[in-house]
């Protein structure tokens, strides 16, 4: 129960978010809050708008209505790279690694934000550029150790099995030293052992770095175990918000999951 003690204030508020593609409503009037240091899970059936919600949070999609307030600042339209600069990193449902690059280079892209050398210094590989390469490499090696992927660091990511690719994607996100980490189904398609590893990493990240984590996951066992709070979406609407115990007994959630009310 150490986790509950450290949870801080609200750092992100989504207020009355509505998003649609053409005529299809993906999200309607959704509000939610994320607190510092917590592990928040978003669950719901396929097509409920979970990924869309993450995409709104880090600026990939721009909602037609509503806005996101992050650390007290409201924002309307922003590029994903600005969200990254504010400390929001994420992984994707369908692995979005850079296929033509090695594991090491993939993770190094997570450090790009920390590098200040201009392209002329880089072209000459002199002074700041060279120093930065080495110091950032040292940090990346720490992440590599943390996620136990030392043996594959020079392997092209395309050649890795699925479970390892998911882990490399997490490593890339962690390399950016995020304050908030958005994980889109990090355990989908994994076997029990791989799931256990991934759970351990998620909890460790939360514990050691104090990273706030917003997670989409289908495995109810995992969600109930590791979450501080759970939000339930269904057909683009929020139907539940509370601790795992509260969600377990929420009649709307039960109805949605058992298919009663639709």
């Amino acid at each position: 129960m150490t986790q509950h003690r450290k949870i801080g204030d609200v750092i992100l508020q989504a207020e009355a978010i509505s998003l649609s593609f053409g005529g299809v409503k993906a999200l309607s009037n959704i509000s939610l809050e994320v607190r510092e240091h917590e592990i928040l899970s978003i669950i719901g059936p396929n097509g409920a708008g979970k990924s869309s919600m993450l995409n709104v949070i880090n600026g990939v999609y721009h909602p037609q209505q509503g806005h996101v307030v992050y650390r007290g600042k409201a924002r309307d339209r922003m590029h994903p790279h600005e969200a990254a600069r504010q400390g929001i990193a994420r992984t994707f449902q369908n692995i979005a690694l850079f296929k033509g690059m090695s594991v090491l280079d993939n993770i190094m892209t997570g450090r790009n934000l920390k590098m200040r050398a201009n392209f002329i210094q880089q072209a000459l590989y002199w002074g700041r550029a060279q120093r930065e390469e080495n110091t950032q490499r040292a940090y990346v090696e720490k992440i590599i150790d943390f996620l136990e992927i030392q043996h594959i660091r020079k392997t092209p990511v395309g050649r890795l099995p699925y479970g390892l690719q998911k882990r490399v994607e997490l490593a890339r996100a962690l390399a950016a030293e995020p304050t908030m980490l958005l994980l889109d189904e990090p355990m989908a398609g994994m076997n029990v052992e791989e799931k256990q590893d991934m759970c351990r990493f998620v909890l460790d990240v939360n514990d050691e770095f104090g990273t706030t984590i917003v997670l989409i996951e289908h495995d109810m066992g995992v969600v109930m175990d590791i979450s501080d709070r759970i939000i339930v979406l269904d057909y683009g609407k929020k139907i539940g918000d509370g601790t795992p115990d509260e969600i377990r007994v929420n009649p709307d959630v039960i109805a949605a999951y058992l298919g009663g009310s639709h």
């Binding site: 880090n58 990939v60 033509g100 690059m101 390469e133």
Partner: protein
């Protein structure tokens, strides 16, 4: 047996990210540089220098430029020749209109002009992708060709838009013999190739490849699309611009805008496909291949002299290039550079592959 890395341990991250991590590679490249800087200018015939080596080096530089944009940053361009033209005409104007302008400075400024034009035509890449963008770069190709043909100002009102190389010298040494031209070209190309390699292994290179492989994920990890793509356009065009200026003044002496037509753009694209997309070495291998193939065909033609018409050879050359492009895309999409790499891997474990 001799190409073996056992016993060579890396004890720092700097050593691990060096360009040539294996000692034998370092020896080889040092020998190659010594050979090309010292032995070749003294021993090679004028034909070898002006007919093969100089065009090879200049086209390698243009291929490097396109490879930065297409191979690393993933933005297909069919307008490389247009940016070469900008470099050539800009350098010419700097030299003719500002007497006493040093050659190297004029080349640098010419390259910068090409970079600016490259950025302008790179702007659409923010909204459009893939072959939409490729077609958009054709706009640059045709528009720039037209500008240099139609407006006499750019060619200093010379007859029919032809520009001729002014007398060139560097630090008082005249650049007028094949050997001196070769050394000038070699120095510039070697320096710029090293710079390209450095960028490719540093953060800007990773940003380019990230945008190429998965642009949404690149943005999400904090890579600004606008700056990364435009920088690729700028640097790529700079390389093409310098190559264009060298092509005009060092290789040909006199050119008009037609020397930088769509055909030239395709030629450079073919170099990187055959040599290796996304490879510095591949740019050189591809250029060597494209320069040597017609020469070899001509030699064959001379052997059968009379029996084979030049017309036939020209068509055969087109078919060969076209066929090779298809062949490489199907069989080895990473081109000659990958074949070379595979050979090295084999050599590393030879003669005991297991």
């Amino acid at each position: 047996m001799f190409y073996r890395e056992s016993g060579q341990f890396k004890s720092s991250y700097a050593a691990d990210s060096a360009i040539f991590t294996i000692a034998q590679d370092r020896v080889f490249i040092a020998a190659l540089l010594a050979l090309s800087f010292v032995a070749v200018p003294g021993l090679a015939s004028d034909y070898l220098l002006s007919g093969i080596l100089i065009p090879f080096l200049i086209l390698s530089l243009a291929a490097l430029g396109l490879n930065i944009l297409t191979g690393y940053a993933g933005q297909l361009s069919l307008g490389s020749a247009a940016f070469m033209a900008v470099g050539a005409f800009a350098t010419y104007n700097f030299m003719v209109r500002l007497p006493g302008m040093p050659l190297l400075l004029a080349l640098l400024l010419g390259g910068l002009c090409a970079a600016l034009v490259g950025v302008a035509f790179g702007l659409p890449s923010l909204r459009i992708k893939g072959f939409y963008l490729a077609v958009a770069t054709l706009a640059a190709q045709f528009f720039i060709e037209w500008v240099f043909t139609k407006f006499g100002w750019f060619s200093n009102y010379s007859s029919s838009g032809v520009i001729s190389a002014p007398a060139m010298q560097i630090f008082g040494y005249p650049i007028d013999t094949p050997a001196s031209k070769y050394l000038l070209t070699l120095s510039i190309v070697a320096f710029m190739a090293l710079a390209a390699k450095n960028m490719a292994r540093a953060s800007i290179g990773r940003a380019w490849m990230a945008v190429r492989d998965m642009d949404v994920a690149a943005e999400v990890i904090g890579i600004p699309m606008l700056r990364t793509k435009l920088l690729a356009f700028a640097i790529s065009s700079f390389y093409c611009g310098v190559a264009g200026a060298l092509y005009a003044f060092v290789l040909l002496g006199t050119v008009d805008a037609q020397a930088f037509d769509l055909h030239r753009s395709f030629q450079i694209l073919f170099m990187i496909i055959i040599g290796g997309v996304g490879s510095i070495l591949g740019s050189f291998l591809g250029a060597a291949f494209i320069v040597l193939l017609p020469i070899c065909l001509n030699l064959i033609g001379q052997v059968f002299h009379g029996a084979i018409s030049t017309q036939f050879l020209a068509n055969l050359e087109m078919m060969l290039f076209g066929g090779l492009i298809i062949f490489f895309l199907i069989v080895e999409p990473h081109g000659l550079a990958r074949l070379w790499q595979i050979t090295k891997e084999k050599l590393r474990v030879w003669p005991f592959p297991h």
